[in-house]
């Protein structure tokens, strides 16, 4: 049919400004702006330093985990083990600085190791996720389900199921400390978000992540080491989960292997989805994930501050997620 193909008009490429595209691309920002405006109007004492800090500390752990989740989802995968890895990191840290694992030559060394070892352990488990996904070719949802189930159990074995309570300001700085009045965890969150956003945009690694999510076969045929990129992405997700786990236990002055990071995988995925990252991979925005987490948090805050019970807030959260994903699908047509 060679002779008929000439009638095909070349696709024109003028950017179109229809409502759908705008909503898909900037929907999250618009929603965040609207929420802030509504709160300024109806919520008493909204525009205060304290409100900002409360909301920021509420989202820190979700955003940090969400950054890793964004990268994993960008490759077309998913990581369900993040909450369990938080629990493992959270269980390990007190064991180390309380000297239950080994004798500490100096308390400062204990604190240093309590930061390093749990985060590395979580990273190693993330690497294990990647190994299952790339070498054994298990679907990501199943591969990470392994640690989702086993991880919390491992954390409980470490601690014999006991609640570990502590009071160690040098360690707890990560969750309670302030830098120029801003919670340290918020600073850490901003740094991680900025670094990841930059990495996704400017580095070979970032481009490779998006290429794999956009078309894995084409990426492979273009010489991208698909397996190694995916492996690193799961490792990063594990590492960030470890950091988030430390923040949570530091904030609570206690580590409960049963509760640390519980349900975090879903919160993180929700933040990613609301933020505008494509759940099928190939298009991702780390800043969007931050905005997504802020939206979810702010809706909850708005409802709570105006006397709506928490149970209803959960329904609102679900509604936002449905709306966000529906908007994404509109944009794909």
């Amino acid at each position: 049919m060679a002779d008929t193909a000439t009638t095909l008009p070349p696709a024109h490429g003028a950017p179109r400004f229809d409502v759908r595209t705008i909503l898909t691309r900037y929907g999250a920002w618009i929603a965040l702006a609207l929420l802030i405006l509504v709160n300024l109007a109806i919520t008493p004492n909204f525009a205060t330093w304290q409100t900002l800090n409360v909301n920021l500390t509420q989202v820190c752990a979700i955003v940090i985990v969400g950054v890793g989740m964004t990268l994993v989802i960008a490759t077309g995968g998913i990581d369900l083990s993040v909450g369990a890895l938080m629990a493992i990191a959270g269980a390990l840290a007190p064991l180390i600085f309380l000297g239950k694992l080994f004798l500490l030559p100096h308390p400062a060394i204990g604190v240093a190791l309590a930061f390093i070892v749990p985060v590395l352990a979580a990273a190693a488990l993330g690497w294990f996720n990647g190994w299952l996904v790339t070498r054994l070719r298990i679907q990501p949802i199943i591969a990470t389900l392994v640690l989702f189930i086993a991880g919390r159990g491992i954390a409980q074995v470490f601690t014999n199921g006991n609640l570990q309570v502590f009071n160690l300001p040098s360690f707890q700085f990560i969750g309670l400390g302030r830098v120029f009045g801003i919670p340290f965890q918020a600073v850490l969150m901003i740094v991680i978000v900025a670094a990841a956003a930059w990495m996704l945009k400017r580095t070979v690694f970032g481009r490779q992540i998006l290429a794999i999510g956009g078309n894995e076969k084409a990426a492979r045929l273009s010489g991208i080491p698909v397996a190694s990129v995916k492996q690193r992405v799961y490792l990063i997700s594990g590492l960030l989960s470890g950091i988030a786990g430390l923040i949570v236990i530091a904030r609570n002055s206690a580590a409960d292997a049963n509760l640390v990071g519980l349900g975090m995988e879903l919160d993180a995925i929700a933040a990613v989805a609301v933020g505008g990252t494509l759940l099928t991979g190939g298009r991702a925005t780390v800043i969007g994930t931050l905005v997504g987490a802020l939206i979810i948090q702010l809706v909850r805050y708005t409802l709570l501050a105006n006397g709506v019970p928490d149970a209803a807030a959960l329904v609102a959260k679900a509604a936002i997620i449905v709306l966000a994903v529906w908007l994404q699908r509109q944009g794909r047509r």
Binding site: H12, G214, A218, G223, G282
Partner: protein, 509 residues
């Protein structure tokens, strides 16, 4: 008696482009009818119109003496037209009976009537001389038996016409034999079969008559015994045998001979599709790989590029033997590969022209992992200009470009790497005529600068025009190497049809 099926004057347009133009298909009762043609000739459209998958724009269909217009494949099936697809669409873990009765379970008092269903399954299979325990799970039986069960299920008791769309592509020789047995039994039972295949041997083995389609038209209908293989291929590709021999092309052969090859493949074997393929490419030369669909062309070059693992044979590239295990090895060694499926394996639709173009080059564009955007932009601008890529700018998303321009971006993806060898699998498929000519002349220009090009194309005219040597593959083997005066459409078609011996005769005699 009137024929079982007659389709007359069938027209079909997709988005204004004609896919069928007054096409005809007549199938007699109890006959096995071959339907052949190149990709895009209109075979599948014809079948999909018959089975109600598409709606025809004009024409009439008479089935069993009555005019019909089916609304869906299910509707067609109810009237006695069954279609069998390439893959087995069954549930391996469930019993044979469950698979056969899926969707038409028998009920008694609101419960499943197992004994009646087992009985029906047994009776149906007996019709095809398959005597197995229908209570065992499907996967307990070998693929050939499973395939038979799938066919039995599709045919049921009511089928008057069975459509088989390349039924043998996933079967080995023995299984093909079994399938042919079924076809003969169907014929004895008075059932007609429409058999779509690209394998000439099979057509001659089971078919009574053939309808050949080209460019949406029915070009020939004849008894199989009255057509030679060469007639068949000629009619399918639409070239007259008397066509003028091809004149000189690209590089002078003598100069090419003198150079050492950049790629030499010997006795390559990959899976089921490639059993013994050899070819070679020299710098500055365009080499064509020709063959019918399923001859093993794509599978061979994928193995060369490291995308699939070869089972045996040597691949010698840039003087290193079997050094390529992955595409990234191939790329580092100086090879580029444009896959036949641009959408599925080429473009990254959500990325920009710039990101797509520099995808393979990225590691070289970076320092300590950070992409040098300025250099990237410079290179992309240069290639957009040089290849005449029509886009609003380097940041436009590639999915918004036309097929021809997407293909140019993919060519540029490799050209910016400065490769020694470029493998092009169907580089002009789905591209409008203007862009096609541009791409072909670009390929020729590049070869003139010393690039080795290995090109697969189903458009014979194109290969013959561009290539200075052509290797013809047939059923996973190199059937002929054509060079010099033998590079013409007639020799290629002869080799496709008969293999080595006759191609040599055609070339020299």
């Amino acid at each position: 008696m009137a024929p079982l099926l007659s389709m007359h004057g069938i027209d079909k347009r997709f988005a204004g482009i004609p896919a069928l133009r007054s096409a005809e298909l007549v199938v007699e009762r109890g006959e096995v009818h071959a339907l052949i043609g190149q990709n895009g000739a209109g075979k599948s459209t014809m079948i999909k119109i018959l089975t109600g998958y598409y709606r025809k724009d004009a024409g009439e269909i008479l089935f069993d003496g009555k005019p019909v217009e089916f609304s869906s494949p299910q509707d067609a099936q109810r009237s006695g037209i069954s279609t069998i697809y390439q893959e087995i669409n069954l549930v391996p873990y469930r019993s044979v009976t469950e698979n056969i009765c899926l969707g038409r379970e028998k009920r008694r008092f609101g419960l499943l009537d197992w004994s009646a269903m087992h009985e029906e399954a047994r009776a149906l299979l007996a019709r095809f001389k398959i005597g197995i325990d229908v209570r065992r799970p499907l996967m307990a039986y070998p693929t050939a038996v499973q395939q038979m069960i799938a066919i039995a299920r599709a045919i049921g008791f009511e089928a008057k016409l069975v459509i088989m769309d390349e039924p043998t592509s996933s079967l080995d020789e023995r299984e093909v034999g079994v399938l042919f047995g079924v076809i003969r039994q169907l014929k004895e039972a008075g059932v007609s079969v429409i058999f779509v295949s690209h394998k000439l041997d099979e057509l001659y083995a089971v078919c009574d008559r053939v309808t050949i389609m080209r460019d949406g038209r029915t070009v020939q209908v004849a008894p199989m015994t009255q057509l030679s293989r060469l007639d068949l291929v000629t009619s399918m590709l639409g070239r007259e045998l008397s066509q003028v021999l091809h004149e000189g092309h690209g590089m002078a052969d003598a100069a090419g001979e003198a150079r050492e090859h950049v790629l030499k493949v010997q006795n390559l074997s990959v899976g089921r599709k490639v059993s013994d393929v050899s070819f070679d490419v020299r710098p500055g030369e365009i080499v064509g790989l020709a063959g019918l669909l399923g001859a093993g062309r794509t599978e061979s070059v994928r193995a060369v590029f490291g995308a699939d693992r070869p089972d045996a044979g040597t691949i010698d590239f840039a003087r290193r033997e079997n050094a390529i295990a992955t595409p990234s090895d191939a790329i580092r060694a100086g090879m580029g590969f444009c896959s036949e499926d641009r959408k599925l394996e080429g473009i990254i639709p959500d990325m920009s022209v710039r990101e797509n173009l520099t995808l393979a080059l990225m590691p070289q564009l970076a320092r300590r992992g950070i992409v040098n955007e300025a250099r990237s932009r410079e290179i992309v601008d240069r290639f957009i200009k040089r290849l005449g890529i029509r886009c609003t700018g380097p940041e436009q998303r590639i999915r918004e470009l036309s097929g021809g321009n997407q293909q140019k971006v993919l060519l540029a993806r490799w050209l910016c790497m400065n490769p020694k060898l470029l493998i092009l699998d169907e580089p002009t498929r789905g591209i409008d005529v203007g862009a096609k000519a541009e791409i072909l002349s670009l390929i020729r220009e590049l070869a003139g600068q010393g690039l080795g090009v290995l090109m697969i194309s189903s458009e014979l005219e194109e290969v013959v025009e561009a290539a200075s040597r052509i290797f013809v593959l047939r059923d996973g083997r190199t059937a002929a190497e054509l060079r010099g005066d033998a590079v013409n459409e007639q020799s290629v078609m002869t080799a496709m049809a008969h293999g080595h011996e006759s191609a040599r005769e055609a070339a020299h005699g």
